[in-house]
């Protein structure tokens, strides 16, 4: 059971959980802003740029 859960985690999240968490946060923030009446289609593309850059910078630093 534990191995199966780890395999699912590895399949979905991979070796950079911060990126996956960032995607979830960006989606939630978009929904929150939209429900508050703020146009937020731009938020996820910005989050993608930041998350990708952060992930690569982390690899570059190592």
């Amino acid at each position: 059971m534990k191995r199966a859960l780890l395999a699912i985690w590895d399949f979905i999240v991979g070796d950079d959980w911060v990126t996956a968490a960032g995607v979830v946060v960006a989606g939630a923030a978009t929904a929150a802003l939209q429900s508050a009446g703020v146009v937020a289609w731009w938020l996820i593309p910005v989050a993608v740029a930041l998350l990708l850059t952060r992930s690569l910078a982390r690899h570059r630093g190592s």
């Binding site: 399949f11 991979g14 995607v23 960006a26 937020a40 938020l43 993608v48 990708l52």
Partner: protein
């Protein structure tokens, strides 16, 4: 055929063409880079699941919360896409060996054999004789989501005009045209260098994931589906800029094997 019937047929045909092209793009991408067999199994399973959903729910299918579906599928696609894109950028910049996935695949296959199990769901990016869970899942989700959107279009347009049969025929024609076009471009796609194709797949998955996740979260893209025409090249250009940035770093610290700049995807 009356004017309103023609308008219905043309509208449904065009709308369903867009949805079918989106599904085809995903299937071609994972089929070319991962495994055609697994991708086609995913297509088959997606079509089957779609048929079951539509047959079970009929016109009530339009009550399925498409927003929730888009959030979950879009979020997963985006997470997958960013993983692909990051690896492709690292390979193109010379910070990751181009063929290290083959060694990983061989190691994982050996582990699977020693454990007495196959390797479905393996995250290896090399062609596999067993079912490739990644290609299967991505193709399945792409076909199911876009198929549901086609079903929504047919049912909403068709019900409005009291001609679901004509709407369904127009949708079927759109899907057939797109599938024929997809078969025609499959061979040329296979000649594209592997890492370049993986780079493109990462861009496409990230773009579609971004698009669906935002739509599912309630955002409305300027220009609707047409915004993908800006989103895809935008993410692609950003990824190429990241490759150039990393290549500069690799050259500064003397990392061997960095490909020349003109070979970037």
């Amino acid at each position: 055929m009356s004017g309103s019937q023609s308008a219905l047929a043309v509208s449904v045909f065009l709308a369903c063409t867009v949805e079918a092209v989106e599904a085809l793009t995903i299937v071609l991408a994972v089929g070319t880079t991962r495994s055609w067999r697994s991708a086609l199994y995913g297509v088959g399973a997606g079509v089957l699941a779609l048929a079951v959903v539509v047959a079970a729910l009929g016109p009530a299918v339009s009550s399925i919360p498409i927003g929730a579906l888009r959030v979950s599928v879009g979020g997963l696609l985006l997470v997958f896409g960013l993983q692909w894109l990051r690896k492709a950028i690292l390979r193109a910049s010379g910070l990751k060996a181009l063929h290290d996935e083959e060694a990983i695949f061989a190691r994982e296959a050996e582990l699977a054999r020693s454990a007495g199990a196959g390797a479905p769901g393996s995250r290896s990016e090399s062609p596999s004789p067993s079912l490739d869970g990644y290609a299967f899942t991505i193709a399945f989700k792409g076909v199911l989501l876009e198929g549901l959107e086609v079903a929504f279009i047919v049912l909403t347009f068709g019900t409005n005009q009291h001609d679901v049969g004509l709407a369904a025929a127009a949708a079927a024609a759109a899907v057939i045209v797109v599938v024929v076009a997809g078969v025609a471009v499959r061979a040329p796609l296979a000649r594209v260098p592997e890492n370049t194709m993986k780079f493109v797949v990462g861009v496409l998955l990230s773009s579609f994931g971004t698009f669906w996740l935002a739509e599912g979260a309630g955002a409305h893209w300027p220009g609707g589906d047409a915004s993908l025409l800006a989103l895809i090249p935008g993410i692609g250009l950003f990824a190429i800029a990241l490759v150039a940035w990393l290549r500069g770093s690799a050259a500064a610290v003397g990392v061997p094997g960095a490909p020349p700049l003109e070979r970037l995807p």
